[in-house]
Amino acid sequence: MTTQYKVRAGERLRAAGRAVVQVAIVLWAVLAVRVYLDRNQPLRQFAAGPWHQAGKDRFSQAARVYLPLRDRLRGVQSVGFVCGGGSEDARTMRHYMAQSMLAPTLVVRWEEQRVVIAAFDNDGQLAQFMLAGPFRLREHFGSGLAILDREAK
C-alpha cells in the first residue's frame, strides 16, 4: 500500500514537473523568438533592398572598397597587400576581405611581390608609405587605396 502510494506520488510529481517544463519551453521559445525578431527586424531588413545597398555591416563596407580592383587584377596570379592604421583586428579583416573579394588572385604578404595593393586609412598614410618604399603608383582609388608597382632596382 505504501509502495503504491509512493509510486503514485512520484508519478504526480513527474507529471507536474513535465507540465512545468512544457509551459517553460513554450514561453521561452515565444520570448526568445520575439526578442530575436526585435533585434533582427527581418521586415525592415528585407524592405531595405538588395545587399549592396542594404549591407551596412562592417564586412560589406570593407568589401565594397575592393570591388573596383577586381577588374584591374583579373588574370594576376598573386599580389601583395599592405595596410596601416586601425587596430590589428581591423587590419587583419582588411587583408582577409581583400583576399575574399579578389579571389582567385592570391593576396599575400607585400614584401616580395611586384604588384602591391595598399589599403591605408587615408591618402596621407599612403603617400608616407610610398616615400619610404620603392613603389610607383599604378592606380589610385581614393581614401588611401591604390595599386602600386614595385620599381626595378
Binding site: 517553460a24 521559445a29 583576399q99 582567385p104 592570391l106 593576396v107
Partner: protein
C-alpha cells in the same frame, strides 16, 4: 544561364537525393511517404545537395574543360542513375513506429491542444527562419568565417578556372586550405548555373540548411515519438540563439549538424526495420560521410560513430555497411587532403610531441575549457530589466540546454525499441564532445580565444542531442497510462 537553370539544378539535386534515399530506405505501403515523409524529404534534399557538390568538385579536377559533359552528367545521368538505383532496390518491411493515437485515442480537448501546439511551433519555426534570413541579409557576405573561409573557397571554385587550386596555397593559411569543400562547391555549382556570382545563393543555402535541420528534427520526432514531442523538440531547437545566428551566418556548422542528425536518424530507423537494416546502416554512413565533406569535425563524427557501433555487439555486424556508406565521401576527402590540401594547422603548427603532452596535462587548460563548457550550458548571467534596476535576475546562458535537461529529468525512461540506436547515438555524441575537448586542449593557439568557439562546436550536436534525449525518455506530454512500463510499476 539563368534562374531557370538554377531551378533545374536544384530540382535534379532533389531527384538524385530522392532516388538514393529510395535505394537505401526500406519501402512499405503504410510507412512510405505518409508517415516518414517529413524525415525523407529533408534527407533527400541533403543527399542531393551533397552529391551535386561532390560532382562539381570531381568535374573541377577530372574534366574541367568539358562543361557540356558536366551539365549532361549533373542534370541527366546522375539523377537517372540514382532513380534507377532507387527502383532496383529491394523493399523491406517495418515494425510500425509506436503510434500514440493507437495506444490512447486523443480526447477532443487534447486534440485541440496538440493542434494549437503545432500551430505555435509552425509560427515560431517560420519566425526563426525569418530571423536567420534577416541575419543573412544583414551580413550579406556572411559572418567572419563565412566570407573568410567558405565563400572565399566558393569564389575560387567559380572564378578560378585552372587556378582554382590556388585556394590550397599556404599563403592564405587563414582560409584553412585543408577544409572540405561541400558547402563552397554547392554554392559555386549554383553560381555556375546562374551564370554570375551573387550573395543570394550563399544566403539562401544557409537559410535553407537551417530550415532543413528544424524540419528534419520535427519530422523524426513526430515519426518516432508523436507530434506533441516533435513540437517541444523543435521549439527547443529554434529558440536557441546560437542556432539562429549561425543559421544565417553562411558557415558550415548548421549543415554539419544536419548530416549528423541524419546519420543518427538512419541508425534509429534501422532499429525499426525488419529488413533493409544493412541499407539503413549504409545510409547512416553516407550521411556521416557527407558531414565529413562539410567540415573536418565531420571526420571525427565518422570515426566516433563507427566506434560507437563497434562497441555494441548487436550493431557490430553492420559496422561494415557503415564503413561502405562512408567510403565514397571519405575517398574524396582523402584525394583532397593528399593531392591538394596541405597538413592541417592542428598538426603542422605543433612545435613538438612534448608540447602536445604538456598541454594535455596542463590543469589550467582543462579548467579553462571545462569552465567555458559549463558556463555556456548551465551558467547564468545577471539580467537587469532596466539599467537603473539594482536587482539583477539570473537568466541561463543556454536556456534550451537547461530545459532539455529538465525534460530528461521529468520524462520517464522509455528507450524501448530504439535502445541500441539511442545507445550508439549517445556514445557518438559523448565521444564527439570528448574529442572536441581534446582538440581544444592541444590547439597550438591562444586557448582563451579558442574556447569562445565552444557554442559553435556544440551546435554540431545540438539537434542530435535533442533527438537522443527525447528518444531516451518518454519525453513531455505523454500520459503514463499509455506506457506499459509505468503500468507494471503501479501494480
Amino acid at each position: 544561364m539563368s534562374i531557370a537553370w538554377v531551378m533545374v539544378a536544384m530540382g535534379v539535386s532533389v531527384c538524385t537525393g530522392w532516388g538514393l534515399l529510395r535505394a537505401l530506405w526500406p519501402r512499405d505501403s503504410a510507412y512510405a511517404v505518409g508517415k516518414s515523409g517529413l524525415v525523407r524529404i529533408p534527407l533527400a534534399i541533403g543527399l542531393g545537395w551533397a552529391v551535386g557538390a561532390a560532382h562539381y568538385c570531381v568535374w573541377r579536377v577530372v574534366y574541367p574543360e568539358l562543361e557540356w559533359l558536366y551539365r549532361l552528367m549533373d542534370c541527366l545521368v546522375i539523377p537517372a542513375a540514382a532513380w534507377w538505383a532507387g527502383r532496383m532496390a529491394r523493399s523491406g518491411s517495418w515494425v510500425p513506429p509506436r503510434a500514440h493515437s493507437a495506444l490512447q485515442p486523443l480526447s477532443p480537448i487534447h486534440r485541440s491542444y496538440v493542434g494549437a501546439l503545432v500551430g505555435l511551433t509552425l509560427g515560431v519555426g517560420i519566425a526563426a527562419v525569418c530571423i536567420s534570413a534577416a541575419q543573412a541579409w544583414r551580413e550579406p557576405l556572411g559572418a567572419w568565417d563565412g566570407w573568410a573561409i567558405w565563400n572565399l573557397k566558393a569564389r575560387f571554385l567559380y572564378r578560378g578556372g585552372p587556378h582554382w587550386t590556388g585556394m590550397f596555397s599556404k599563403d592564405i593559411w587563414f582560409s584553412h586550405p585543408d577544409y572540405p569543400l561541400l558547402l563552397p562547391a554547392s554554392i559555386a555549382r549554383l553560381w555556375s548555373y546562374l551564370g554570375h556570382e551573387n550573395t543570394l545563393v550563399p544566403q539562401l543555402t544557409a537559410v535553407a540548411a537551417t530550415g532543413l535541420v528544424a524540419l528534419l528534427l520535427f519530422g523524426v520526432l513526430a515519426w518516432l515519438r508523436g507530434v506533441e514531442q516533435a513540437c517541444f523538440g523543435t521549439l527547443l531547437l529554434v529558440s536557441s540563439k546560437v542556432f539562429l545566428y549561425y543559421g544565417g551566418a553562411q558557415v558550415a556548422d548548421v549543415p554539419l549538424s544536419f548530416f549528423l542528425l541524419g546519420a543518427i536518424i538512419a541508425l534509429a530507423a534501422a532499429q525499426r526495420s525488419q529488413q533493409g537494416v544493412r541499407a539503413l546502416f549504409a545510409l547512416s554512413g553516407v550521411l556521416a560521410g557527407c558531414g565529413a565533406m562539410v567540415k573536418n569535425e565531420g571526420l571525427v563524427i565518422c570515426v566516433v560513430l563507427l566506434a560507437a557501433c563497434i562497441m555494441r555487439r548487436d550493431l557490430r555486424r553492420n559496422a561494415l555497411m557503415l564503413v561502405m556508406g562512408m567510403a565514397p565521401a571519405l575517398s574524396l576527402m582523402a584525394v583532397q587532403k593528399t593531392l591538394f590540401a596541405g597538413e592541417s594547422y592542428l598538426v603542422a603548427d605543433q612545435s613538438s610531441f612534448q608540447a602536445v603532452v604538456q598541454k594535455l596535462v596542463d590543469p589550467s587548460r582543462h579548467q579553462t575549457i571545462a569552465w567555458a563548457l559549463l558556463d555556456h550550458n548551465v551558467g547564468f548571467y545577471p539580467w537587469r530589466p532596466l539599467a537603473a534596476c539594482p536587482l539583477a535576475i539570473p537568466l541561463p546562458n543556454h536556456p534550451g540546454m537547461v530545459l532539455l535537461l529538465l525534460t530528461f529529468v521529468c520524462g520517464i525512461w522509455g528507450v524501448g525499441r530504439d535502445r541500441l540506436a539511442v545507445a550508439a547515438a549517445a556514445v557518438t555524441l559523448l565521444l564527439t564532445v570528448g574529442t572536441y575537448y581534446v582538440v581544444l586542449l592541444i590547439m597550438p593557439y591562444d586557448l582563451a580565444t579558442l574556447v569562445e568557439s565552444w557554442p559553435r562546436l556544440q551546435l554540431h550536436i545540438w539537434p542530435s542531442l535533442i533527438l537522443v534525449l527525447f528518444l531516451m525518455t518518454r519525453g513531455l506530454g505523454e500520459s503514463e497510462q499509455a506506457c506499459p512500463a509505468s503500468r507494471s510499476l503501479a501494480r
